[in-house]
Amino acid sequence: MFNIFIFLSKYLVIIACLVYVAISFIAIGIKKEVFDPEDYDEEYTPDQIRKFNIKLSKEYDDKQKYLSLIQLGLIIVSHVVCYGVLYLKANDSQVLVFMMIQILLFIMLRFLFPFVYTGLSYQLMNHMMLLMSFGFIMIARLNYNNAIKQFIFVVVTMVVSLAVPEFINTMKNPDKLKWVYSAVSFTMIAVVLVFGTRVYGSKNWIKLGKILIQPSEFSKIVFVFAMASFLSKGGKFKDVIMAGIVAAMHILVLVMEKDLGGALIFTVTYIVMIVIASGNILYLFAGIGCGSAASMVAYKMFSHVRVRVNAWKDPWGTIANNGYQMAQSLFAIGTGGWFGLGLTMGYPESIPVASSDFIFASICEEMGTITGMCLILIYIVTFITIMQIAIRLKSEFHKLLAAGLGFMIVFQTFLCIGGVTKFIPSTGVTLPLVSYGGSSIVSTLILFNVIQGLYVLDKDKERKKLSPPKKKGRKNKKMNEERTEYEE
């Protein structure tokens, strides 16, 4: 019965994914309506207007909640089906117990997390869980113990993250903190230069006891904080230069550590953020120009860059050595085809670092390229959701923060998937939320939770705005009016 179960599971997961993606796009398409008394002839009192708005807001929230519950159901269905396959293969009831605990985590996240993150974005939450679910499935299929480790990292991070909204709330004066952020972020990556350990050719790991940590993963988040605080005053030329100096220091150190992917991510994040803050698209072209020039120099100067580029240009000719990984990845995707070979039926073990940098190829091989494309779409929709949040936010600093983090994570995804599929040379970065790797999953979860925190704060303000003023005193009312105007 095993074959037939795998056969069915393959299609079930694909269908679940497709429906999930469809719902996600419907969810981001739902507009939040605001009652506008000018559309109507009748006169409305402010109180009435407020009531209408509360009603509309509740309708919107209910719709989102309803859709998100279907999505959660789909995540659980595909998770159960895939773990069912893994259970049949391993014939070990421990797998089922692990599955139950994971589903419990998903349910708790969905129903308990909002108590702290009041009014969080269910869409973002679901996308996070879906991506993690695929990670748990594929990591467990490749190495069961790694999946348990990954799971523990997730639980710990989510618990610690409960403090994030409060933390963001306390940081109201970013201007004074910009040097602090810069220093912290820079120290994180610079410390590796001194105490670092070399893994896979990049010297960007640090050994603490038995655990290997990649501080650049965490530095990324602080870096965006630093950039946002530099640029939140309209992105004047002076600030752009200051931020540029800080960014350049980071990038230089990363290049020295041979962390190609990291250097690229920092560069692109900086460029994107200055363009957004200043509104000057010329920075984008300047950035692309400088970036291309720097890439050419890097290609000429560093042999490891040439190796990667040559492996990308012709993986088949260099298959015996440098092109091996690229070729194995393409074999995996190609052999899997549109529908995949079925979970446990392929041979993703043949791809070097199949569970971290190349997990996308492993997923395509066994779960099908359609599923892989669904993942791409889910990353797109996640990105759009983050951008919607950034647009909703009122404070410039928060806007830049959310946008910066969103662009950073989506660019990392682009580098990872592009590198695995031979769209661009491989840069050795992880697939956010899916790849195995402690530092990667912890930092990505924190990043998502920071965005959630920003959203929650914004909703908080909105709720205060909608709630009736407690005192009808003139001063209070005036302040209220002032705030309302300011936030429009």
Binding site: M1, F2, N3, I4, F7, G234, V272, V275, I276, S278, G279, I281, L284, W316, I319, A327, Q328, L330, F331, I333, G334, T335, G337, L341, M345, G346, Y347, S350, C364, T369, G372, M373, I376, L377, Y379, I380, F383, I384, M387, A390, I391, K394, E396, K399, L400, A403, F407, V410, F411, T413, F414, I417, G418, T421, K422, F423, E482, E485, Y486, E488
Partner: protein, 517 residues
Amino acid sequence: MKNKDIENEETTKEKRKKPGKQDKISAKEEKKRRQALIKKKKEHIKRVKTIDRQIYILGGIFIFGFIAIAVHVGLYIQNESETAINNSYNTRSKVLEQTIQRGEIYDRNNNILAQTIINEDGTYYRQYPYNELFCHVVGSYDHGKMGLELYENYTMLGYKETLSKALSSDLSGNKIKGNSIVTTLDADLQKLCHDALGDYEGAVVVSNPKTGEILAMVSKPDFDPNTISQNWDTINADTRSVLLNRATKGLYAPGSTFKIVTLTEYIREHKDNYNDYNYVCSGSDTFNNAKIGCFHGEVHGSVDLEKSIAHSCNCSFANMGVNSSASSFRNTVEGFLFNQNLAINDFDISASSFKMDDNANEEEKVQCAIGQGTTLLTPLQNLMIISAVANKGTIMKPYVVDKVISSEGNIVKQNEPVALTTSAMTKEEADEVAKLLCSVCEYGTGKELSSLPFKCAGKTGSAEFSGSGESHAWFVGFAPYDDPQIAVSIIVEKQGTGSKYAVPIARKIFESALKEK
């Protein structure tokens, strides 16, 4: 607009304010403060709008990047993956074979050329009913796959899945049957070629010049793929390169068969008056230090184009070569697809090479013109040249896999004939060369073919190698002359002249293949 509204609102509020107890100075200050606030607000709104606009623009660019990746992956799966995954570095077939029974390979008349036999205990092996007959083209399975077993490895491990199929194989405990391959090969013709080549080393390739279908492909020495594992040490130690498919990988000097190309070049350069060509052969000639002699020092006397090719007069062709333009000659040769790696899925092909600089000296030109010198080609390449002559200048892509069928016999994929180039020769050139090659088989070096009931066209060759005076025997040709059905390329290594060793093989092939039709 909105900003203006706010401003208006503010001013009306200001107006509504009663002066009351407040003195005028503080009212003014209050007004200033408010105006500053409004200004700040306006600036803020403007900046927020800028940020939002930039987010839309950059976000759009990033999303476009993702869509580009998705399209890239889709195109890879749809177009490239099939060829890409059939690589010996892709080790997935062992995993797939645990659940899938590798499909069969058939010839054009449904004879099984390769099949998987499953023992009662579940172990399996690959069986080749014709033993060594198809060892190079169909290839072998054990000890590193070769031939079609390699190039179509994953095709035979694929299957058109249906729920009922998965269900029935699951219930019966059998493996799912993979797709099978129907080739263009003809087992009878293959056997005939194999026998005709006898104990000699060499290669025979037979095709349909109009479609590119390969009907037979023999390379010797050969081996039995059924027992390759047992005999691996012997096969590997054999210095004659037993595993090499000489038909597609063996590079030889073309010898006199290359005169077909030289002839094409001469006609091309002398469009209007090539019929007036005349040369007096005295058995040998010297072209600026390069001494050329005809075979066995034979004196051909006054020859035109027809006599030159019919008797394979070296001196006359050297004369044509010396007077040709080097760049034009090179273009003509490259028009026959020399010096390039051909993208042909069904074989591993060595690229044929031809070197001639624009300022090549006369010695080089002379050597090239008569097919000695540095020129190297494979028997398959030579077949493509003669096919261009037979097919009005068009070279069809040689192929072996006719179609892929599912285990129920439904067609999964049908290969259609494709032209590799339509401009190797013009139709007029091809017709003229074919007419001249016909004379070779009527009274020239290939006259043994003249007794056949149909007219043939072709060219013999004796390619000297390693300067030892020994030569490989060549023959390329097609028949019938009026309506070409069969093209052959034959090389017999180290034996002597094409007339003596290669032409008889061609005769057997033509006789047998065209008798049935």
